[in-house]
């Protein structure tokens, strides 16, 4: 089986433009267009967040689909499962809006859809080759890769920096 791809975050590259947030909300709207999405009620929700830490760090956050997902095990209604691609999914039909997942997620990336009284999170854009947030990121702060490919690139990058620092 080929390795599934995941969304990696490079905080050093994020400039805080929030393009990912807009793209995610549009992708999860009924119309799937920006102008349509803006007019929809309830307002389409983004599943990706960009936080800010002083002095000026921007931190994009999105569900990591944890290997040992606390939300999945804590769910009291069996609404959260992991699919064959490793994506942790919330089944809106089964969700009772008790927010136990919100209470146990250590990343704070599970949203509460107040109008529908359901929890929601990143679904890795099942209809797309590349998730909308990654596609929209203009700086490469969001990377859609397999774990070996991403860690390989990170290692190469680190070795280059090391060689440069040593004056090579």
């Amino acid at each position: 089986m080929s390795q599934p791809k995941e969304i990696f975050v490079r905080t050093d590259r994020c400039v805080g433009c929030r393009s990912c947030i807009t793209a995610c909300a549009v992708e999860h709207s009924a119309s799937k267009t920006l102008f349509g999405a803006i007019a929809e009620t309830p307002r389409p929700k983004s599943r990706v967040y960009v936080e800010w830490v002083a002095p000026d760090h921007k931190v994009p956050l999105v569900c990591r689909h944890c290997e040992d997902a606390p939300c999945m095990h804590a769910c009291i209604s069996g609404a959260i499962h992991r699919d064959a691609d490793g994506v942790v999914r919330t089944d809106a039909d089964k969700c009772i809006g008790c927010w136990t997942c919100v209470m146990v997620c250590p990343y704070g990336v599970i949203g509460r859809h107040l109008e529908e009284h359901k929890a929601y999170r990143c679904d890795r854009c099942p209809d797309r080759e590349i998730p909308a947030c990654v596609d929209a990121c203009p700086t490469g702060a969001l990377v859609y890769q397999t774990v070996p490919a991403y860690s390989g690139a990170a290692r190469q990058h680190a070795s280059r920096e090391l060689v440069q620092a040593e004056g090579g």
Binding site: L61, H73, I76, W99, T100
Partner: protein, 429 residues
């Protein structure tokens, strides 16, 4: 019976069975353990013995059967969420009467024997019915615990105009709302000065209380029932200790739970309130384990022994026990005695860790708006978060739980905690 004799006679006597792993109890802790074992041990035989007539289900969903919003098949556990393991034999209606750790065997009430190599006690708890209340045996008196209870309650609800709930805990509130949904008038009788006294101080519960009042619940605080009146049709009323009498056709008792440990009498398994479990979820006799409501575990902050009756905790401990039973030594991190998230009457709230602060030395920060309330409780030095209550806005609650559980030094981001603006970026920048 000498050890090993069970397996030799396997297949000869239909009343004797052998399974590598036997799990007593088919709810959160038991099923979480069973599926964890299956993930780690593909071949080992796993048998779950459940005293309930129903196949395992998500117990927290049973109020939806009372309200009519869900049917039993919507609540089935196997095949839902993380419960996807195969080849787990579940015997329903199998109530264990005795355990003999010397011969590694269990005896059911009907005389059937189960031999085990490793056993998990996950027998859970049962509702506590205060003996000082007279007449609790009458028809129409419930303590909502099982799917079977929910069925009878739903049936009775059709003939109920007014229900009285004794106890102001979360379970009774859920049951109360299920009945309200069906158009039943509901009165809550609470001995404490305020509802949800286990989860927050009375002065912190005002938003929840307002939401309950607005939703149409009638609440009597500072009162308790002395007797339940009945005639051949069942319940007719409740007498309170303040002299009041409430006419009703249904009573629901929500006065806490007690662990199911009686079957261990004479087994030598140490019981102190509940079953005593070590850091690795092992009970005191060889190859015995305990998890869930029935187990005594520890609070990660104080280290004090505690018992909880929460689905989420039971799953966590059950998974840990499953790992240990499958041979992967795993320490249980313990749990807060209080760890609740829910929504009642459109008011979401979370309570975790130290939430009762009327006695004890704490640094407390309370903030309130018209629609939200929060209370952050720090240790006396102010460097460690030990508890949190959020009402109305429960955003990012999991981060606060993480800070409490990991006993993080909060110096770098304490203002964000107090302002309820904490996010994961604070941990990594």
């Amino acid at each position: 019976m000498p050890p090993g004799s069970l397996s030799k006679r396997k297949g000869v006597d239909v009343n004797e069975h052998q399974s590598q792993y036997v799990i007593v109890g088919g709810s959160a802790a038991g099923m979480a353990a069973a599926h964890t074992i299956r993930a780690k041990d593909v071949r080992g035989t796993i048998t779950v013995l459940s005293e309930e007539p129903d196949v395992p289900y998500f117990r927290p969903l049973i109020p939806f059967l009372v309200s009519g919003q869900k049917q039993p098949e919507d609540m089935a556990l196997t095949g839902s969420g993380p419960y996807m393991g195969a080849d787990i034999a579940v015997k329903t209606g199998a109530r264990v009467a005795a355990c003999d750790p010397d011969s590694r065997s269990l005896t059911l009430e009907d005389g059937t024997c189960y031999g085990y190599e490793k056993v998990l006690f996950a027998t859970g708890s049962r509702p506590y019915v205060p003996p000082e209340i007279e007449g609790t045996g009458a028809e129409g008196v419930f303590a909502l615990r099982t799917l079977a209870d929910a069925r009878s309650m739903a049936a009775r609800a059709a003939r109920t105009a007014h229900a009285v709930m004794l106890g102001g805990g979360l379970l009774n509130l859920k049951a109360a709302f299920a009945l309200l949904e069906r158009g039943v008038k509901v009165t809550l009788v609470v001995y404490s000065p305020e509802v949800l006294s286990q989860l927050m101080d009375p002065e912190d519960a005002y938003l929840v209380r307002k939401a309950l009042d607005d939703a149409g619940l009638t609440i009597h605080t500072g009162a308790s029932a002395t007797a339940i009146q009945s005639d051949p049709s069942g319940v007719t009323g409740v007498a309170l200790d303040n002299g009041e009498e409430l006419a009703c056709q249904m009573v629901c008792i929500g006065k806490g739970v007690r662990p199911n440990v009686e079957f261990l009498q004479g087994s030598g398994v140490a019981v102190d309130g509940g079953i005593v479990a070590d850091r690795f979820t092992a009970a005191s006799r060889p190859d015995t384990y305990a998890a869930g409501d029935v187990a005594v575990t520890h609070d990660p902050i104080s280290g004090a022994p505690i018992m909880t009756a929460l689905w989420t905790n039971a799953v966590e401990m059950g998974r840990c026990a499953g790992m240990n039973m499958a041979g992967i030594k795993t320490a249980y991190t313990g749990t807060f005695g209080i760890l609740n998230a829910t929504q009642v009457a459109d008011e979401p709230f979370v309570a975790m860790g130290v939430v009762h602060t009327r006695s004890g030395d704490y640094e407390i920060h309370r903030r309130a708006t018209a629609t939200t309330f929060r209370k952050l409780v720090f240790d006396p030095g102010g460097n460690r978060l030990v508890g949190a209550v959020f009402v109305g806005d429960i955003r990012n609650a999991g981060l606060y739980r993480y800070v409490i559980r990991e006993r993080m030094d909060v110096t770098g981001f304490k203002p964000a905690i107090i302002d309820h603006t904490l996010h994961y970026g604070h941990f990594i920048c």
